[in-house]
Symmetry: D2
């Protein structure tokens, strides 16, 4: 079970994991490595807010190993500037949660920097994911996410597992195809220069997961993955395997035929994306996650004043990512790892 | 909280809802109306398994009103023929959960008709959804699903709310555009005649939901909707509002500008699909759900014998839907209604 | 996870267990054996309501073994006579939940026979407990409850494990000391003849549980046992090991010294009742459960009319147990078994 | 939902509350007031470990009000001396959780000072309880605990509500009867001088709770209270109202007759302790909680060496409470408040 706390402009962002088995090697360094992958990748693609995001382990680790007790971790907020937000408290930013949040919390929510709705909260997912990844790696399971598409520029060639594994963090776009990454970056910078932003798609591949992991129906593995992925701000869609494309295939095209390979049951294709009936098939899990463009843009936008109920305009002066996709890559890895670790533990691994 | 039980070829399929408020008018007739919408729509599009699917209310209703106690309901299985399955117990059907289920349950699962993984279990979602819809309708919330695309044939014109509301159950395809429905049906029948099957896309529209319903992060409204929708067998993808298309828009295109309409805060566009930060915006919720083609097809397929670990073939002789999409429409409505009712109750409605 | 449904005068009482591992031998006979122990033990001690309480298994068992899917079971209500209750709907019976239930459910609750608050609902605990006991017995764990005290008459001599195991269901009082049982029975009958009722104490002993089962703090084994035991109607107190008596001991008297016996760590005494820090110690778990006298008595009692808010009297004419304690014995066994099975499964057994 | 983290000799003890409504006035001062009541009450009755226990609010409060987001709070550990524990890692202290914890966690648990099993973790319950008490007080509900008995010395006279409210924290024993408190203290000091410890009983009274709060069966109010109270280290028993004494009453004596007082339904007696069928009756809730004597004593005790599996002795040199009961009083208040707040929120208050 994972609980997160904290706000964008509060004192910290924290997360508590309950249920991690004892005896797993864990240290602040292991978590820090993942957190560092979530830092701004370049001044032009990402925000200029400068947070060191140094993790502090509060509990659950003793003599270098997990104890089985809850693991709580925080990163403290340092580079906070709330002045802009103080002025614009009652004029909701389009595309952000400001308006529904003020309704839901009756105006008591910490609105500064989006408060609890800020992308900064994904640090919690990355920290918790680092622990989950440690557990998964002890079981031979690897979770590999990368930018498949940004600003409409997408990978076209088929990448090898090794390319994804080795090159996904090699550039500012987190795209294992260097040439495509270059074109993506140019498109992002062009949008930024217009005071605009872009979206994209993160792909995630899981290898090494044994068959039979998951549960049917209300606890299905794909259902839990979809849920966790949709908790990441800016995600608007999720698809597994052939996904929306499967809706246009025939059964004879979409069904993955079984065969035997090295004494194991495998499928010749993997349109299922490694999941059938909420259970893993033993084939790689493949999932695609759609991110909308960053809602914070430089251009003036139409909004309303919630106090006077009059229409007005807003120009955002904060520090923002022109494309959130590259920084979302480790977040997707963390989210997927958390769900897989949870299901493997339930299945007795 | 909703718990379901039962198997395709066991004695029944049942569901228990805990947490329904007292004082809601409810009867077997109300539930039956929804269940009837899930029955086979035609001999050519759907299965020929003839189940009356008559609901029996076991608890939680007294003198025509919910009591606040758990509501348990069952439909009994009558038209069961397990002979084919007995013969093919150890040769998993491609595209079905047979293989991972036998691993997960160590061979003890009731495999007949797919057991707990059968589409028949969606009767539970429809029964529970009927109660949720009753609650929602008492709060002015309507959930309207319909077939948007089947066999690659999709609706192209913009439908009015009234067309969707009135015509979505008017034909065997559950498509409110009669002309498109006709072409869909022809495509389905053509596939069936080839011993094949097709998939499609169900759209769902929710109107009347007030703003601020939901929760951030791990309990986000869209996350819970995505999870529940992915518990429906054959679903491979879910998207909200502009969905995957948003990944190719710019922030200035995708952001929904706020304005005032009849003293209410609304947005000029609805690319968000009615949800921001896990909370409802007060605009209609729009979600699209991708269904793969029915995995049961008449054509011979490649599989393996799990006992001998040899490759073999399989020809399925059961009774199947050439296209599951029309029967999935009330299931999507039920699934969405359950999540919305749960979140509205949590928000104190 | 266990969910129960049904009411005293509705169609049935049912229970659904989710999370039972596959491969456990289970049949209606196994459950029936436990249910039969909950039937009225004699016309004078127990109620005259004649329910066969024949269990019907609805799901989760196939070819004589659990499948891993939810196990749902019901007993149907047959001998229902609600006439008395119709007349007394708005005059709450002292000692029953009638009054707070009508407030909680805004008057919509099924009041007949106490509805969901009836002792009849304990059939759910016994049915679910039967499954849990099956699992525990496959792990060498035995749960043995018995009447320790009724109507102030208590067991004084120290019973052997074998006496408890063999003789606890040997008489109408479910007391393994036959002489004491006789005196208990006389006291119960004397109370009944006065139109009154009596309470008592059920003791429960668990042997065979390995050390380390449970969890600290909010998931402590004793905390979960206490919770489950207090869900049994009429329970007013629970104590483990030396219990309330420990409050008057010194640390040097109450601490259980460790020693080695047959290469195992054991304690010389067992004041802890087999639980320390929410974890099992490997010593027998001992718990005592206090039952208040049956609130339904023949004597006229003072109450109020909730409609007119006037004081009035009530004379109960239903069929009741002069002492519920003997019939509570299998319920305590079931409740304890459910919690232990759950914790053993969580601990990977 | 409440999650706690931290260990006795780790960096901190923390707690996170999710689900607190927005708009409740809250500050570190409010929490600190409750925490201060848990500090050692005197050098002779309590431990000499000197922890300031200064609370730090990490999240969920903005401009002096709760925001509706998770509230996380910590107290940092300062006065930690683990040297004694390093030496005695494999010789479990009788009456402590050391032995079952080392089994449960496979030797990886942080054993220093009892780690997660330390009474120090009750700071989490007090911090969370402070928030719950704030909420309850806004609804007119008061939770009042006090020492009823210690070292066998108990209160005999009937205390007024005002005496309990005003005097329960007036002395080192947290007993509102000053004369009894004096005799308790003497008995505690006598035990300490012998290198021994004593136990006792905490009573708790709740006034102002409206009728109908709670739930039946598996979510009963008394069941949840019992569970939460048994999560407090050293608690061995819990009873409500007449409790174990009710087991010896007749129905006609134990039933609480209804009458009308100031247009409200009340009962003439309160043997039920304010709870029937898992729901509040509107009468005061009364619960008694039995604490065993502190297991840490100065006297030499018998134990075993878990490495060599040989019998040995142990003499504890840490800093301990000769009687934990006075410091448990605010913990009981916090535990009870948490459960009541949770149930009131569920009931829509």
């Amino acid at each position: 079970m994972v609980t997160c706390f904290g706000e964008s402009h509060g004192s910290c962002v924290g997360v508590t994991i309950d249920g991690c088995p004892p005896g797993l090697e864990l240290s602040e360094e292991v978590v820090q490595r993942e957190l560092d992958r979530r830092r701004p990748t370049s001044q032009q693609v990402s925000t200029s807010r400068a947070e060191s995001d140094t993790v502090q382990l509060l509990s659950g680790v003793f003599e270098g190993f997990t104890t089985g007790a809850p693991i709580s971790m925080v990163v403290w907020n340092h580079d906070v500037d709330s002045s802009w937000y103080e002025e614009h408290r009652w004029t909701p930013r389009p595309g952000h949660a400001d308006y529904p949040a003020s309704v839901h919390y009756k105006g008591f929510n910490d609105h500064r920097g989006g408060g609890r709705f800020s992308g900064r909260l994904t640090a919690a997912t990355v920290m918790a994911g680092a622990v989950a990844r440690r557990y998964l790696s002890s079981k031979g399971v690897e979770v590999l996410a990368y930018t498949q598409e940004a600003a409409g520029v997408g990978i076209e060639k088929k990448l090898t597992l090794n390319e994804i594994r080795e090159d996904r963090y090699a550039n500012v776009m987190r795209c294992p195809d260097a040439a495509v990454a270059k074109r993506m970056e140019e498109a992002v910078i062009a949008a930024r220069n217009e005071g605009d932003s872009v979206g994209g798609i993160v792909g995630c591949l899981v290898v090494g997961l044994p068959p039979g992991v998951g549960d049917p129906l209300f606890d299905a593995l794909d259902a839990d993955l979809a849920k966790m992925l949709l908790t990441i701000p800016a995600v608007k869609g999720v698809e597994f395997g052939a996904g929306f494309g499967a809706a246009r295939l025939k059964g004879s095209e979409n069904n993955d035929a079984y065969c035997i390979d090295k004494r194991k049951v495998v499928t010749k294709t993997n349109n299922a994306g490694g999941i059938l009936g909420g259970l893993s098939t033993g084939m790689p899990i493949t999932v695609r996650v759609a991110f909308k463009p960053t809602p914070s843009i430089g251009k003036r936008q139409e909004t309303v004043d919630l106090k006077s109920m009059a229409e007005t305009g807003i120009q955002i002066h904060g520090r923002h990512d022109a494309c959130i996709v590259p920084r979302a890559v480790p977040v997707v890895e963390g989210a997927v790892a958390l769900v897989l670790a949870d299901h493997m533990l339930r299945c007795g691994y």
